[in-house]
Amino acid sequence: MPEPNPLSLANSYLGLAADQLLADDQGSAAALFVGVECLEIQSQVSELGAEGSLVVAVVSPSEALAAAADLLDLDGRAQVSTLAQQLRCLSLAVS
């Protein structure tokens, strides 16, 4: 197993949030827009070297996005902090 680092964990939470938002049974447009944005951020986080295959607890999309934001904040890089901020906004949007 790869070493669990914050970026990998954040990536896993992002994957979880995107999956739940895309699966939204209500077919909500807001969930779809946020889900696509999640995939886009996940793609950026993956390019920073995160594997993102770790098993994470199943939580709501809003909680998963907030957890991913907290984990990205641990990284400290300005580029990653911007993504964390973006995730906090998305977390509020789907809460």
Partner: protein, 443 residues
């Protein structure tokens, strides 16, 4: 700038209006005949680009245009020319737009075929009448081919289905440009088995779902505002396609296809922002009033229909890519912890090399499900896309039914109206027989 066949035919009318305000100057007959040669060649191109070509009804017109097209002259004709040149250019552009390959219904193709032929015949007749009059003004001899064209009695007809044939490019503003750039980026990201990634495939599928959701909303708003007939067929088909693409964007956790989607990401974000800006207001969709204040609903639907057509093309590439990672040489990776016990010996060997992922075997359930989801999504999008234009084309029947509406007045059938029935009978009694009166032989 994006242009549809509908816009171009409307533009053609404007150019004909301009032409009819111009008086032919003496000495211009040879030049006008050369311009007619170019106009005939462009018109033939348009006739051949129609969805139902070859068509026996247009054979006579084609023969006439063929003889005009053979007129010798420079190619292209040097400026300055007459206003016929603008008409030639517009017809040439329409032919080019009609060559765009799109998925449409047979009904839409029939409507467009009729519309193109009727509009072209009417335009050529108007241009020919102007030419004929001009030749008379400058005391030139009449050209029999122009005379024959001038005699065509056709009424231009604009089917809303003409909105389906559009030309969009990456420099176009708004949704058109964003769709065009997204299509190019998505195609680039997913067509190569060496560069395709899971996130690129997921993002592409989710973007197509967004296009479906956006189109469905615009049609719903148009129905709510009374601009379209109350039919939920297109909406239901688009919603089903949206849900299928959402499902296709969801990958099982045990499968992975790593790598970058760097080039696709900005194009995807731009498309999403464009749709968000044009169609949404904060967290929700705009109301019908907000949507159709600055942009007519036909323009919204035409633009989104181009997006769906792009989505369909890209969707087919998604299916091919998923099929390749399921059955091809470069396979998607499978989490070894999900491999059944019977394969543990293989895993033990892999563990020795500290591998947690291995190439997925063909016909594994989860990868097959991905494959099935992508195929289902393309099929549903292929069903929904033509219905979008059908919904727009149904507007014509809505207008026609409104035109025939006679308001609150009761219409009394002739048979029930004794006065009118008596009048009709009296009129019939007054009609004289058409044959000569029979001469009787007198004694």
């Amino acid at each position: 700038m994006a242009a549809s066949a509908f816009d171009l035919l409307a533009n053609l009318d404007a150019h004909l209006d301009d032409l009819e305000t111009i008086t032919m100057i003496p000495g211009s007959i040879p030049r006008v005949l050369q311009e007619w040669g170019a106009l005939a060649r462009a018109s033939l191109q348009l006739l051949w680009a129609r969805p139902r070509h070859p068509d026996a009804n247009a054979r006579r017109l084609e023969a006439l245009l063929d003889s005009l097209a053979a007129t010798p002259g420079d190619h292209p004709l040097p400026p300055p020319g007459t206003a016929l040149m603008a008409i030639t250019t517009t017809i040439g552009c329409t032919a080019e737009v009609m060559r765009t390959r799109i998925v449409t219904s047979p009904a839409a193709r029939d409507q467009v075929d009729d519309a193109i032929r009727a509009s072209l015949e009417a335009a050529l007749a108007r241009a020919a009448r102007w030419t004929q009059l001009g030749f008379q003004t400058v005391d030139g001899p009449p050209d029999p081919r122009i005379v024959r064209l001038a005699g065509i009695d056709a009424v231009p007809y604009r089917s809303p289905a003409l909105h389906a044939w559009r030309s969009i490019g990456p420099t176009d503003p708004g949704i058109d440009g964003a769709v065009s750039r997204w299509e190019a980026a998505a195609r680039e990201a997913i067509t190569s088995p060496h560069t395709v990634t899971q996130l690129a495939l997921q993002l592409t599928s989710a973007d197509i779902a967004l296009l479906c959701a956006s189109t469905s909303t615009v049609i719903q708003r148009a129905i709510q505002s009374g601009a379209l007939p109350r039919s939920q067929v297109a909406v239901a088909a688009l919603d089903a396609a949206e849900m299928s693409w959402r499902e296709s964007a969801r990958w099982p956790r045990e499968l992975r296809l790593g790598g970058r989607a760097t080039e696709l990401r900005p194009a995807s974000a731009a498309l999403r922002q464009c749709l968000d800006h044009a169609l949404r207001n904060g967290d929700g969709w705009k109301t019908a009033e907000e949507l159709f204040t600055d942009t007519r609903f036909e323009q919204h639907i035409a633009s989104l229909h181009s997006g769906l057509q792009a989505g369909l093309r890209v969707g087919r590439q998604v299916v091919a890519a998923v099929d390749d990672v399921t059955h091809g040489t470069s396979r998607v990776w499978l989490d070894t912890s999900r491999i059944p016990m019977s394969a543990r010996t293989e895993q033990a060997r892999l563990d020795a090399f500290r591998y947690d992922w291995r190439p997925n075997l063909a016909a594994r359930d989860s990868a097959e499900a991905l494959n099935h989801n992508a195929r289902d999504a393309v099929a549903r999008l292929g069903h929904a896309t033509p219905l979008t234009i059908e919904a727009l084309a149904a507007r014509r029947s809505l207008i026609e039914s409104r035109d025939t509406d006679e308001g609150p007045w009761e219409t009394v059938p002739t048979i029930l109206d004794p006065l009118r029935a008596a009048q009709d009978q009296a009129r019939l009694a007054m009609i004289l027989p058409t044959c000569e009166p029979t001469h009787t032989i007198g004694r």
